[in-house]
């Protein structure tokens, strides 16, 4: 057993503030409020300086005092520190002065931001003595649990809706995990998992390990600030499924401010959803924090298709508090967003990335984000995982025989005529 961290002190109910020991528990016994990691920020402030961070390896663990484990990370030590791309061509296409893409399509090892949360959850799972880990997933989390459990020598079970994209199913099976496909929507997978979590002594990363898991998302926010030259971006557009990532990026910005690692500055966070499953965006637009669940999500954006978003309430408050807002886009707009990001910046994002780009476009068009300011788009997963969404929508290769004449007649001369 590792010595307890002097920085990560306890779990705390977000609703009533009751404190709990750092065990595999996730809800408050008294009001079912979610438990969240609590820290001793004074202790952290005395050790976590810009200089200390910059001297460490380029991974999410350079911010380790702000992540909820006791000892050294033992799973996913190389995760994170993905590129923050200055996206000038996309900025021009969308009509904004300055734009950055936080590119988690190349996160290690499974090409989505979920490697961040799994790295924390499985490192903590080991500290707590779990031998088997599991998750409910729309795909990316399953891939990451499967891969990271394999490399850590942990047994794993991933539970997914049966209708997921082939790339995401194969991207779990290959690691030798136990893939259980549930005949139902993600929310039904979730419900089953919450009923079996704890029953077999498994560490369910997004159920009984959720307080640890969720904190991993903060590292995306920490990296954005450091990579921008130690400042908070004015506007950040973030895809929402349960709403957790948005609340954790908000928390990351607040923590760095509190620790004096960045200057206090106004910032706004914006949530992006697909219209076919947009319970948080719709509540935000109605001006309420009561999130009406969506019983039957209907969108190509399966990774965001959570009808009962657990962190929707907090996501709405984070957006409201910072002066941000929410948007949602149709499946056609999602495909256009994927293509625009690929054609302007050479980044191939999954459907959730299309949602983020397309929502940013709408937020700029409506004036919610002023065109003369600066924004960051959080692109959270790789497009090779959701190929079904765009097959047949990006054209077809032009087929010729291996002949110079055919190349000239059918390709070069034709293109020259168009140009």
């Amino acid at each position: 057993m590792d010595k307890p961290s002097p920085y990560f002190t306890s779990l705390k109910c977000r609703e009533c503030g009751r404190l709990y020991p750092k065990q595999a528990i996730h809800v408050c016994d008294f009001d079912f409020g979610p438990l969240e990691a609590a820290y001793d920020y004074d202790a952290i402030k005395s050790v976590l300086t810009r200089k200390a961070i910059e001297s460490r390896p380029q991974s999410m663990w350079r911010y380790r005092e702000l992540l909820p484990i006791d000892g050294e990370p033992t799973v996913g030590q190389q995760v994170g520190f993905t590129p923050l791309v200055k996206a000038d061509r996309l900025a021009k296409a969308l009509g904004i002065r300055e734009l950055y893409v936080k590119n988690d399509t190349v996160n290690y090892p499974t090409l989505s931001f979920k490697d961040r949360v799994v790295s924390v959850a499985l490192s903590r799972a080991r500290e707590l003595g779990f031998k088997t880990v599991a998750c409910a997933s729309t795909g990316n989390l399953a891939n990451s649990v499967a891969a990271n459990a394999a490399s850590a020598g942990l047994k794993s079970y991933v539970l997914i809706p049966a209708d997921l994209e082939q790339g995401k199913v194969l991207g779990s099976l290959v690691y030798g995990t136990n893939v259980v496909a549930i005949q139902g929507a993600y929310d039904q997978v979730n419900r089953l998992c919450s009923e079996i979590a704890g029953k077999y002594g498994w560490g369910f990363v997004n159920v009984n390990l959720r307080p640890y898991y969720a904190e991993g998302s903060k590292s995306m926010g920490f990296e954005i600030m450091e990579q921008l030259g130690w400042r908070i971006p004015q506007h950040t557009v973030i895809p929402m499924a349960s709403g957790s990532l948005l609340t954790k990026i908000h928390k990351a910005y607040s923590e760095f401010t509190k620790l004096g690692l960045v200057d206090a500055a106004p910032f706004a966070v914006y949530g992006a959803q697909a219209t076919g499953c947009a319970p948080i965006a719709h509540a935000m637009k109605r001006g309420t924090d009561i999130v009406k669940p969506v019983s039957k999500p209907d969108t190509i954006v399966k990774s965001l298709a959570i009808g009962t978003p657990a962190d929707g309430y907090y996501a709405i408050h984070a957006m409201k508090q910072t002066g941000g807002s929410a948007e949602d886009v149709t499946d056609d707009e999602v495909v256009e967003g994927i293509k625009l990001l690929a054609e302007s910046e050479g980044i191939f994002a999954e459907t959730a990335g299309g949602v983020t780009v397309a929502c940013a476009k709408k937020l700029l068009a409506s004036g919610a984000i002023p065109r003369d300011q600066s924004a960051v788009l959080c692109i959270t997963g790789h497009g090779l995982k959701t190929q079904e969404a765009i097959i047949g929508k990006c054209g077809e290769p032009r087929l010729i025989r291996p002949s110079l004449r055919e190349f000239e007649e059918q390709i070069y001369d034709k293109d020259a005529a168009v140009a």
Binding site: N140, S194, R210, S242, S295, A310, Y313
Partner: protein, 90 residues
């Protein structure tokens, strides 16, 4: 009587029972009956106004009561009710 599946955080109140029987013809009545058998249970899942808390989901068979008639949702003797805490995304 309808059966109610109790989530881990509430089992301290139900002597660690995972499934209990409860009387009542609606969700409100079921909750009242549970509270009579296991005092303190209602205040865990309902706020002061008697509404089901934000982070609690209640299902009758496979349907979330938010898609039915909320607290007034009728229940039959053969129904299975589940109390499920909200969980994070994936």
């Amino acid at each position: 009587m309808p059966s109610v599946r109790i989530p881990t955080p509430l089992r301290k109140l139900t002597n660690e029972l995972e499934v209990v029987d409860a009387g009542g013809a609606t969700i409100s009545e079921v909750i009242a009956s549970l509270d009579a058998a296991f005092p303190g249970l209602k205040e865990r899942i309902c706020d002061d106004a008697g509404n089901v808390r934000r982070f609690v989901n209640i299902f009758v068979n496979d349907e979330d009561i938010r898609f039915l008639e909320e607290n007034a949702t009728p229940v039959k003797a053969t129904d299975e009710i589940s109390i499920v805490p909200a969980i994070a995304g994936g």
